[in-house]
């Protein structure tokens, strides 16, 4: 590409880069701040004046969190739901996407239309709540995994992905005596690893961030995922500041709340760099018409 080295162009590039740096800082600095406060001595924070870096390093907030079993328990719930839930998602989604990708599969059009329609119209919160309740799933972790087992959107994108796999591969496996199930697990899925990684990431993020279904379906505090606990500690406590019942959270205020935010965020940020190279492709796949 020809580079124009005129003054106007250089000014353009500089301003553009400066604005982009500013945008990037605006997205990242809040995270840095939260992390920094969570590692700072609570008394230092209370004195004020700490802007971005810990003035006095301390693990007090994290020690406090691990001394109560509430957070440890909810972390366990979140990890369990994320791991098992994502496995269920990927299994259910690929099991249905594969037959839908076969042109000779009877009923494929009907099922596809049925799935598409659920993207346009839904029964809504109240009837869905009663269905989950009637199935006896309320207050179990199943309520966080089964009712969201398949995302219609991901299903259709994955089906399109499966359709691009050359038929020859599957045919030769058939001749060797493989059933469709063998083909899916031994040939199609291994070929679809980038797609599976992308959908795995999207499903896992959704499970880790799940919040409202837990509010709806789970009353038992011992089964709360981390996001629900976070809301209790950070948001509800904030709006209750000044009420006597929350004196305890006022004694060690910001640092602990920040530490909980860190726990609700870090696992996502840990997997992010590993999957980043896949998801842009996945999103583009998704933007192609279903």
């Amino acid at each position: 590409m020809i580079q124009d080295r005129t003054f106007g162009n250089r000014l353009f590039d500089t301003v553009n880069a400066a604005v982009l740096i500013l945008v990037a800082l605006c997205t990242v600095l809040p995270f840095v701040y939260v992390l920094a406060v969570s590692f700072t001595d609570p008394h230092e924070v209370a004195k004020g004046g700490m802007i971005l870096f810990p003035t006095k390093f301390s693990l007090a907030a994290y020690e406090y969190i691990f001394s109560t079993d509430t957070l440890v328990k909810s972390l366990g719930v979140s990890i369990y739901v994320t791991v098992v839930g994502t496995f269920i998602n990927l299994l259910f989604t690929s099991l249905l996407a594969y037959p839908l990708a076969k042109p000779h599969f009877r009923g494929r059009q009907v099922i596809l239309l049925g799935v598409l329609f659920t993207m346009l119209f839904s029964g809504g919160m109240i009837p869905s709540y009663f269905v989950v309740k009637e199935l006896g799933m309320t207050n179990t972790l199943w309520s966080l995994m089964i009712p969201s087992a398949i995302s219609a959107f991901n299903l259709i994108v994955l089906r399109n992905f499966f359709q691009q796999i050359p038929d020859g591969l599957e045919d030769s496996a058939k001749i060797d005596g493989c059933s469709d199930l063998d083909i899916l697990f031994r040939i199609v899925l291994p070929l679809s690893l980038p797609a599976m990684a992308t959908f795995g990431l999207f499903y896992a993020v959704a499970h880790w961030n799940t919040f409202f279904s837990a509010i709806l379906y789970i009353n038992d505090h011992n089964k709360w995922p981390v996001q629900v606990l976070l809301r209790e500690i950070v948001i509800l406590a904030q709006s209750r500041i000044g009420e006597t019942s929350f004196e305890e959270s006022l004694i060690q205020p910001l640092t602990i709340r920040m530490a909980v935010i860190v726990f609700a965020t870090v696992p996502i940020l840990l997997v992010y760099p590993f999957l980043q190279k896949h998801f842009a492709k996945g999103v583009l796949l998704g933007s192609v018409k279903g």
Binding site: L20, L96, P103, F121, P127, D167, L181, F211, I261, S287
Partner: protein
């Protein structure tokens, strides 16, 4: 598509009509041949029936006086009672206003920003710098609304939040962002922007990547500067993507981000913040007015469906591909 099956029949190649003529024997053979496919599809199909279609059937409760112990089948019918009540209530117009205003604000302030950001990223010549910025701005998309709202609370609180400390240092006053209803919509829109603007660029960047470089070179030969190139080449190139996304946005006009608003709602900002979805939750699940809130939900879903279909029709009228 050429398929060659082990049984040599290759029934998949036949048209449905031809398969029909071949009779029951062929059908049975086909079902037997694809038995694994049917078995594989079963869990997914059951999932959609149980968790998507049964709730749709469950909407009959909007026309009943639903009693949980009687279920959908035996609860007494109530006709349009709940709908009449809803449309007659002053709350209806409050909800309508709040929902529409939030949607309009999002359209005006949020919608153009990913396009602007994508255009800026597209002008960056150093690949590494571009990727670095992208990595940063994508991050908030992966964080939950609880975390986003939590971080904003921590930053904005008058009890030691950094932003209020800075404002205090500059002006000697503090602003109660979180308590004053007047700030509610601004907060909602800015949080949405912070969380999703980077992610929103992906699709535009993809569209921009497809632009033919020769166009730029030709324009440069003709003496077009960067602004002219942007205006005459880049923008027209992503026009159809913008139109499609705008139409999709119009289709989901009433979905103002339920979790997000639910988290931001407090007793002080309920008058400006309550939208249809949060109202359904409050009436239905905290006050146990099941049929009434199902009626509100049905109203919202129906309007949503009409908007989606209308927007798609519009897309086709504009000569775009449409979504469905």
């Amino acid at each position: 598509m050429e398929t060659d099956y082990a049984d040599g029949k290759a029934a998949g190649n036949k048209t449905p009509a031809a398969a029909g003529r071949a009779g029951l024997g062929a059908l049975a053979r086909e079902l037997l041949r694809d038995r694994w496919l049917y078995l594989m599809a079963l869990p997914g199909v059951l999932y959609f029936i149980v968790f998507k279609y049964v709730p749709m059937y469950g909407l009959v409760m909007a026309f009943q006086d639903y009693k949980p112990h009687l279920g959908f089948l035996d609860s007494p019918w109530a006709g349009l009672k709940h709908f009449r009540r809803f449309f007659g209530e002053p709350a209806f117009w409050t909800l309508f206003n709040n929902t529409v205003l939030l949607a309009v604000y999002n359209l005006i302030f949020f919608f153009p920003l990913p396009i602007v950001l994508a255009l800026m990223l597209n002008e960056v010549r150093q690949e590494r710098f571009k990727r670095w910025v992208q990595t940063m701005v994508y991050i908030p998309h992966f964080v939950s609304w609880v975390v986003v709202v939590g971080i904003f609370y921590m930053l904005l609180t008058t009890e030691g939040g950094v932003i209020n400390e800075l404002i205090f240092a500059l002006t000697g006053e503090k602003i109660a962002f979180l308590l004053e209803p007047g700030w509610f919509r601004t907060m909602i829109v800015s949080q949405s922007i912070w969380k999703e603007v980077g992610w929103g660029t992906i699709i535009f960047l993809a569209a921009l990547a497809g632009v033919d470089m020769q166009l730029y070179e030709a324009a440069r030969m003709d003496g077009a500067n960067r602004w002219r190139q942007l205006w005459h080449i880049t923008l027209p190139a992503i026009r159809s993507t913008i139109v499609i996304l705008l139409i999709l946005r119009l289709g989901s006009f009433l979905d103002s981000g339920f979790e997000h608003i639910f988290l931001m709602l407090t007793p002080t900002n309920r008058d400006v913040g309550e939208v249809f979805d949060t109202y359904v939750y409050m009436k239905g699940l905290t006050q146990a007015q099941y049929s009434y809130s199902a009626a509100v939900g049905l109203f919202k879903s129906a309007v949503g469906l009409i908007l989606v279909l209308g927007a798609n029709w519009l897309a086709k009228r504009f000569g775009e591909e449409g979504v469905y």
